[in-house]
Structure formats: structure tokens, C-alpha cells
Subunit: 475 residues, 2 copies
């Protein structure tokens, strides 16, 4: 593949220009979760539009209305739809990414200014958004630019969808995707999202699954106002007592979910799935390091990753309405809301989960003999997602990995959810691939977020090689 | 008792002057819990000192140092020690009260300005501090004033101890009492505290018991930082799971404490104690009204009051470190601290309680098979208090009640604790009486706090009559 050799050589020799583009992007603090930064999110959207136009891509900035944030009604940043190439003889790849970032303040503990891109002695490019997700989205632009300078046509048509609200609920995105499924996105063949991470720090991966989530609020209500435990303790059914008992019946200290029937729909581990775990670049010690303690439930990386990726889990997040501050307060809370969620996996169904949980919690409450009242509802349900990793989209990506890194990729899943993945799959009916650029230790939402120089540069090669392999693969 | 008849007539005909004194006091917003109001607490201390000096009492303002509040180091308000009469042939009565108040803002829902004394159509004197505790402390001053105008000597020596930090932990008070037990307080014969309430709204009471308290913090620690439940759910022992399980093993929905041995030291109900419950001015409906719901554990007032006053109770107050805000957050809290307390009764001992709780919680945790670590400590222990209501202090008070109200008082206890009660009893070795002025529905710490005009006026008579009965009673 002589084209690719030239492309790789170009990328290697123009590293500083690509890093400069990332530097400019990181310097725009496009924090979507804080109304005070909303102008910066718009500025970042404008930056993307301008860069795309300079490259000759067509650009639409879609206005998706307003939101209420920090008590004010403010404009949502535009979703940028961009097309590069419309050759009907080529395949069309839709790529998605986001140009907004998580909040960051130097005083949170950053070693460097968060909104300056600073390369350190280990060649890490430090800065908010470097890996999540400005490095990856600029990766696509760098691929286009390199091909233009080399006078080589992109082997596929590229459609790009870049949003500015990913870190804050992707407001307006699902509606747009669904509305444009038969419109702007009609000719899309496959989807590629570069917004996650390698499992470890050494080996690239393709990610083919995400867990779903059912988030529950369990409310127990008794007195009409908070009471003093001295005056009323011993005379009333206390909502905290009931709630604590109910929460204690949901999951064991070993993570076993106690809701009858909940695991009935969990897909059986096949031999071929099981074998993918054997070659993963991951040691149990890395997980211990990530949690910062020796409190893992499982002894082997395989077991731990299976429980992160392909088995359900239930976590108790907290209680609203009870005393939460430091110190002592002798309150009997009148109304408390327990918060917990279940991470779901194929073939669990969000509605069935809600049904099982509701039935069980009500039955357990009935056993308590309390005069308080409960209500439970699922406030948010998202299906698990899993793609078939032998689809040609994955086959092409695996070839690209092999070509750039000279290694077969890990096949990974993630424990969390990236809701847009499922929206693309369901609304467009096309295969979706998660193709990460950064490493597992990039610290996407933490202090000192970074993207290694090599991950950025080899990542640009990977994205370009992927497009070539897509063009070449037999479908 | 012609002296008392004249005294009562004087009180009746000088109601407006006494209410005026209370009005001036209420207009000083002596909120001890907020540094911004500290000057007002000092102003209120000065008001008390000035009024006492005008009446010819000797006054010491005791400086008890500084505290840190709202991040600033500020001066504690003075404890006012005042003596009226030093005749060695008379008995000496120590009275205690507090001149600070709870916070109050009109926008909390008050019908009137909280720091204005407003009499409504039902002759309720509305205002923060009216019943807690400015009405009662001014009651003593009104008694002195009335006797002076009538040219009648007080039949006892009065020592007064008025503090300005009761609503905020009584800082410095215990130390002062202990230090002055053989000094300023050496000649005290009995103690009278007017800082609680009738059980209901119609019948006066003498209060002879308070529950103690052991407050516990139970910490469960796992990961070194909060985790994302998507990424880590299912792989680590979650501290919230362990904590919830432990808290669920402490008490049943019916209020039964599950800690083995905890009830062994609870005093047996004697026939004479049991009979005191039969004449109480209290209906179960009043308790339902107070909690604002039909969620009481017991069906009769007697059972309910016994569980408020003379049986222990355990309340779960809340959890520090978990998610507590409205909305959804998919956090796995790394370190959580459960807060609960046990209200104790004679003859339970705080140290024994801590021992039993600690042992039980550790044993239950060991059963969980979790790799997390726990620690439990009792941060605050106060003994229960009970006085012998056939002491001459109580006999005198009962006679005074009968004289003023023409009814035998209820003998009540309270579920909460007023720590100074026990300090006086233990440090001075004298009998302590709680002699309330206000009604059970005064709303001491709520919005629309009030003191009924009749309770204030008859209360002044009661405090005066009590001093006369103290002087007359055979000891
Ligand atoms: Zn992202
Ligand atoms: Zn992110
Ligand atoms: Zn008080
Ligand atoms: Zn109070």
C-alpha cells in the first residue's frame, strides 16, 4: 500500500503542525456543563467549522434550540454536520465526536494550566480535551489535510457529526440523528466513533460492546417534616430504617444482584467470546491501581473484565433527603430517596429490568410491616449495546491496527454507556465501531488529562489506514 | 398566702409591662449559630445584665473564650452569673436559662416578622425566642420586679445562670459549672430550669427525666477515590453496599434495636411509674399531628410516650460521602460514613452502649466477606437523666402548680437531652427540676414560634409561687 506509506511519512514529518492544531483547540475552554463557558463552546464549534471549510468540506451548523442551565435559558451549541466527498462509487463512513470538554481548574490539582497544551518529558500532551475528544476529532481533519497535500483522494466519502454537548447529556443529538436517518445520514454505510480508550497503555483495541443502565429512585415517605430523634425516636416508623433495609436486599458485598430473575436474560459466554479475554493487554494490578486499593472482588483480570463488561452490576449511589454533611445532626429524615442503578448487558431489556426491580422492592417492603409509603421509578433506561466484531467494519479496523501497530487489536467492551452508539445503530441500522486513539490511563475526566504524542500521531495514521481498509474490504 | 395573692394581682395588672420587656428581648436577634449575628448575642447579654442590675442584682459576665464559626475565630458570648439575695437563713435556688435563639427568617414561612413580638387574635405572642427561652428567663426577672414594687422580700436567695450559646452546643458552660461547683454555686440548694414545654396544651407539668444519647459514625472505606459505576461496577467491593447492610442490622422498622444486650440495663417499669402515665394530658392524635402522618408505631399514648421517654431508640440519620443531591449521578462512593444514634435511658451506660455497638458492628462486618475496612466510633455520649420526683424541689413545684392552675401537674420526661441538666446534677450534687412555662405546640425551633399570653403571665406567677413554696417546704 504505497499510498499509506506516503501518508504515514507525511504524518510523521508534520507532527508539529498537527499538534499545533490540537494546541489551538485545547486553548478554547469549551466546557459544556457551565453556562459561563457557553460562548467558548460556540467558539470551538466555529473553530471546527472554519477548519473543515478550509479543507473544502461542506459544513452545516445545526441549531438544536435552548436549554436551562444554572438557572438561565441559553442556546445549545450547534451540531456540526460536515461532508467531505460525495462519490457514489465509494463507501460512506460516518464519524462522530464531540468538541466540548469536561470542566477543569488549575486548583483542582493540575500540574499545568488545563487549557494550555503542554508536552512533558514523557511526550505526553497535557491539557483538558487533549484525549477527550479534541485529539480524535482533529485526527479526522488531519487525515483529510494529509491526503490533500499528498494529492491523494480519500478512498471513501466522509460524513462527520461533531457535537458540543456530549459531556452534558448530548442534548438535541438523538432527535437530530433520528430526524436525519433517512436524510443527511441516508447513504452512510458504517459508523466509526473515536471517543474511548485502549484497555491498557500498550495495545490498541476495537470496542464492540457497552453496558446499558437502569437508574432507580426509591422513595420512602413518612412524617410530613423532618423530626428530632430525641423527641420522636421510638414512636414513628422511620423512613431511613425502611430504605436502608430495602437497599440492603438489592446486592451482596460480592456484587451478586439479589433481584430474582434479573440474570435470566444475560447472554451465555460462548467459547469464542471467552477466548478473546485471553490475549488482552491487561493485568489485575492495573485495575487495583485504577481503584487505588486492594478491594477487588475477583482475582483474575479475565473475571474482573467480564464483570465490568458482560455481566450486570448494581451500585448504590446515595440517599437524597437524609443528613449528609460532616458532623452530627440528630434528625429523623421525613422523606428519603435511595438512588441505585443496574448496569445491564445483552440480552437484558430495560423494561423487563424495571418490572423485576419494582415487583421485588414492593414485595420486600410489604414484609417490613411499616406504615410508611414507598414509590419506585426508573428515571433513565438505556439498552446495552453489542456489535458483531466480525462485521467488515471491524475487519477493516483490525487490518488498520495491524498495519500501523503491527499487532492484532484487543477486542474490548466498556462497562459504561455512550448512548449515541446505540442511537446510530438503531436509527441508521448500520454497524458501529468504537476505535479509540488514547490510552487507558489518559484521565479523560480527571486532572492532568493527557494524550501521548505517539497515540496522537499513530492515531492519525490509524484513522487514515482505517478509511483505506474500509474502501478495500470486500462487503 | 396573702403575699402570693398580692403578687398574682400585681402580675395580672402589669401584664403589658412584662410583655414589653419580652418585646425588647425578642427584637434582639441573638442567633448563636451564625457568626453574622454574634454582635446581637452580645447585645442580648448586655440587655440581660442591664435589666438585672436595674433590679439590684449583682452581675458577673464571664468570658469563656473564643470559638471557630463559619471559618472565623470569634468571641463566645458571656455567661451571666447573677445573684439576688444572700441571706444565709434562706434557701438558695439556682435558675438556669439561655438568652440566645434559633435562626429565623421571614421567608422560612413565618406569618409575622420573626424578630418582632406580635400578639395575634388568639393572644399568642409570636416571635423567635418568645418561648425558647426569653419568656422563661425574663419570667424570673419579672418575679423580682413584682416583689420589689410590692415591698416584699423574695423568700429565697436566687442565683441565676444565663448563657448565650445553648442553641449551639453550650460552649464553655460545662467547664464553668464544674469550676464553680465549690465556688459560685457552692451554696445552691436546688436547681430549676425553665427551658422545656408542657406535654400538651392544657395542663402544666414537671419534667423529671431526659434520655441520653450515643452518636455513632460508622465509616466504610474502599477505593482511594470515587469511581464511575459504569467502569468499575461489579469489580470492586462497594463501601455503600457494606454500609447499607450494616445499618440495616441495627434496628427493625418497628423500632426494635437489634444490638444484643442493649436493653439489658433498661430499668423495669414500676407500678407507680406506670400509673403516672394514666393521668397525662395527651392523646395519640396529638402525636400524629406533631409528626403530620399516620405512621406511628404504637396505638396508645401511653405506649408511645413510654417509647419516647423511657425506652431506648435508634435512629439512622444519614450518610456522609455518598451522592445526596437531587438528580442522578452514577458514582461509586469511595468512603462513606453512616450516622446513627441511640437514645438511652436509665440505667444504660454510654460506655457500655459503645462497647456493645462496636462489638456487634464489627462482628456483622466480618460476616460480609468484604475487603473494605470499617471503623466505628462514638463521637458524643451523654448519660440519661432522671430525678426523683418526690424530692422537696418537686413537691414545692407541684404545690405551686396547684396553687396557680388549680390542677395537679403532669409528671413528664422528655425524649431529647438537655445536657446541662445532668451537669448541674452531677457537679453540684443537687436536685434539678425542669419547670416549663410554654405549651407543647409552641414550635420552639420552628417557624411561628409563640408563647401564649396566658402561659407567660401564669408562668410568671408559677415561678414566683415556686420560690415561695421552696421557702415553705420542710426539707
Ligand atoms: Zn468523550
Ligand atoms: Zn468525556
Ligand atoms: Zn431552649
Ligand atoms: Zn432551643
Amino acid at each position: 500500500a504505497p499510498h499509506l506509506q506516503n501518508f504515514f511519512a507525511y504524518v510523521d514529518s508534520h507532527q508539529e503542525e498537527f499538534i499545533d492544531r490540537l494546541r489551538k483547540a485545547v486553548e478554547i475552554p469549551s466546557v459544556s456543563g457551565d453556562a459561563a463557558y457557553r460562548n467558548e463552546v460556540f467558539r470551538m464549534g466555529e473553530f471546527m467549522a472554519t477548519e473543515l471549510k478550509k479543507l473544502g468540506a461542506s459544513v452545516q451548523k445545526r441549531d438544536v434550540g435552548t436549554q436551562v442551565l444554572n438557572g438561565q435559558t441559553i442556546q445549545l451549541p450547534p451540531i456540526i454536520l460536515s461532508t467531505y466527498g460525495t462519490d457514489p462509487t465509494k463507501k460512506t463512513v460516518l464519524v462522530y465526536g464531540h468538541y466540548d470538554v469536561q470542566p477543569a481548574l488549575k486548583e483542582d490539582g493540575w500540574n499545568t494550566e488545563p487549557f494550555k497544551l503542554v508536552e512533558d518529558a514523557q511526550h505526553r500532551l497535557n491539557g483538558r480535551g487533549s484525549t477527550d475528544d479534541k485529539g480524535p476529532i482533529l485526527g479526522w481533519l488531519n487525515v483529510i489535510e494529509a491526503h490533500q497535500y499528498l494529492g491523494v483522494d480519500l478512498p471513501v466519502n466522509l460524513k462527520m457529526c461533531f457535537e458540543g454537548m456530549e459531556e452534558s447529556g448530548s442534548e438535541g443529538l438523538d432527535e437530530l440523528i433520528i430526524a436525519e436517518a433517512k436524510g443527511y445520514f441516508a447513504d452512510v454505510d458504517v459508523v466509526c466513533i473515536s471517543d474511548n480508550y485502549w484497555l491498557g497503555t500498550k495495545k490498541p483495541c476495537l470496542t464492540y460492546g457497552l453496558r446499558g443502565i437502569n437508574y432507580f429512585l426509591l422513595e420512602v415517605k413518612g412524617p410530613s417534616r423532618d423530626l428530632h430523634s430525641g423527641v420522636f425516636g421510638g414512636t414513628v416508623h422511620e423512613p431511613m430504617t425502611d430504605l436502608t433495609l430495602l437497599l440492603s436486599k438489592l446486592v451482596t458485598p460480592n456484587g451478586e444482584i439479589l433481584i430474582p430473575g434479573i440474570s435470566d436474560d444475560v447472554a451465555v459466554v460462548t467459547a469464542s467470546e471467552s477466548s478473546t479475554y485471553n490475549t488482552l493487554d491487561f493485568e489485575i494490578g492495573e485495575l487495583e491501581e485504577a481503584v487505588g486499593s486492594k478491594t477487588l472482588i475477583h482475582d483474575t483480570a479475565k473475571e474482573a473484565l467480564m464483570h465490568r463488561w458482560r455481566y450486570p452490576s448494581l451500585s448504590l449511589h446515595g440517599i437524597e433527603g437524609a443528613f449528609y454533611a460532616p458532623g452530627e445532626k440528630t434528625v429523623v429524615p421525613a422523606k428519603v430517596i435511595g438512588k441505585f442503578s443496574i448496569r445491564s448487558v445483552p440480552d437484558m431489556d430495560p423494561e423487563r429490568i424495571t418490572e423485576l426491580v419494582t415487583h421485588y422492592v414492593k414485595a420486600e417492603f410489604a414484609k417490613l410491616g411499616s406504615k410508611n409509603t414507598i414509590s419506585i421509578r426508573c428515571t433513565h433506561g438505556a439498552k446495552p449495546w453489542v456489535a458483531t466484531p466480525n462485521h467488515w467494519n471491524y475487519v477493516a479496523a483490525a487490518k488498520a491496527v495491524k498495519y500501523v501497530f503491527n499487532v492484532d487489536p484487543d477486542y474490548t467492551r466498556e462497562g459504561g454507556s455512550i448512548p449515541v452508539t446505540l442511537t446510530f445503530q438503531d436509527a441508521l441500522g448500520k454497524n458501529v465501531l468504537l476505535l479509540p486513539m488514547g490510552r487507558g490511563d489518559d484521565g479523560a475526566h480527571s486532572i492532568n488529562e493527557k494524550l501521548d504524542r505517539s497515540n496522537y500521531i499513530e492515531g492519525i495514521k490509524l484513522l487514515g489506514a482505517y478509511l483505506h481498509e474500509i474502501a478495500a474490504v470486500q462487503t
